[in-house]
Amino acid sequence: MKWKVAFFTIPEYVQEQDWLRFQHKKGWKLTDTVSPCFYKFEKCESEDVVYQLDYNQEGLSHKEEYVQMFGDCGWEHITDMMGYSYFRKPLLLMQEEEEIFSDDASKLDMAERVFKGRIIPLLIIFFLLIIPQLLILEGKLQLSNFESLLFGIYIGLFAVYVSVFVKYTLQYVKLKKKIGE
């Protein structure tokens, strides 16, 4: 058993899936997660197993039926973290490589659920806390040590938030273009 720390921002679930698949190939299978970025692995046979993340709050509130539907289709539910549900299915059980979404329209639906559940709260924090705080601190002539530290933290947060928004938007636009809307 081992724990790993890995940081994936909200729109990076595809990278997260690939990383988990890579771990399984190396003989470590995911058994649990702890918010926001801790992953528990157990030693296992090396195998090519497809990992997939869904974001579905309605599914989480009707978890039995939700997990049952995936189970019927051969996808094992492993854990949930920050609204994301983690599923896996061995490549051997597939005729060709499968995903939990079989069309682009439902991938776009998921991206929209992520927007409502995860991006909107960030936008609120961004515009109601980070931006006003930066403006207030920036308007002061002299900053105490504590205020300088605070200013640095808010600048850092500003950069992280902006990068999340940009990444999310690029990914969304790409998907939307693919569908041709």
Partner: protein, 127 residues
């Protein structure tokens, strides 16, 4: 039917169409997956994330309704509104098909083959 429903569902995705088509009978999600796979000779294998998302969206929009639960599986059936949407789609796809046939074989022959197929005019194909 309000504008929102029309905008979202006409035209609809292949997934959406097959779900409505199947739900003319009471069914749960996984049995729809299996039925569609059989109907399309394995060409369309609906995935669970797509299925779960589509069913909850359609239920919220009133196209299908939840009937009961059986062994942790939700059983749904199409509603009156769902039927209207399905009919619009069928009409659209039939028109598409008709135009495709005309494009491929020319107008007259298609008409005579329809007559031939339906048995209205058995000799039409020879004419």
């Amino acid at each position: 039917m309000d504008a929102h429903i029309k905008k979202v569902y006409v035209p609809m995705t292949e997934t959406g169409f097959y779900i409505l088509l199947c739900l003319q009978e009471e069914m749960h999600g996984y049995s729809i997956v299996q039925k569609v796979e059989t109907m399309t000779e394995g060409a369309i294998r609906l995935s669970p994330g797509t299925m779960y998302g589509s069913l909850s969206k359609m239920e919220k929009d009133g196209l299908i309704s939840f009937i009961r639960e059986e062994e942790k599986r939700k059983i749904y059936k199409i509603t009156e509104l769902g039927r209207e949407v399905l009919e619009l789609e069928m009409f659209r796809i039939e028109r598409l098909h008709r135009n495709l046939q005309e494009y491929k074989y020319g107008k007259c022959e298609v008409e005579s083959s329809i007559l031939y197929d339906t048995g209205i005019c058995a000799g039409a194909g020879l004419a």
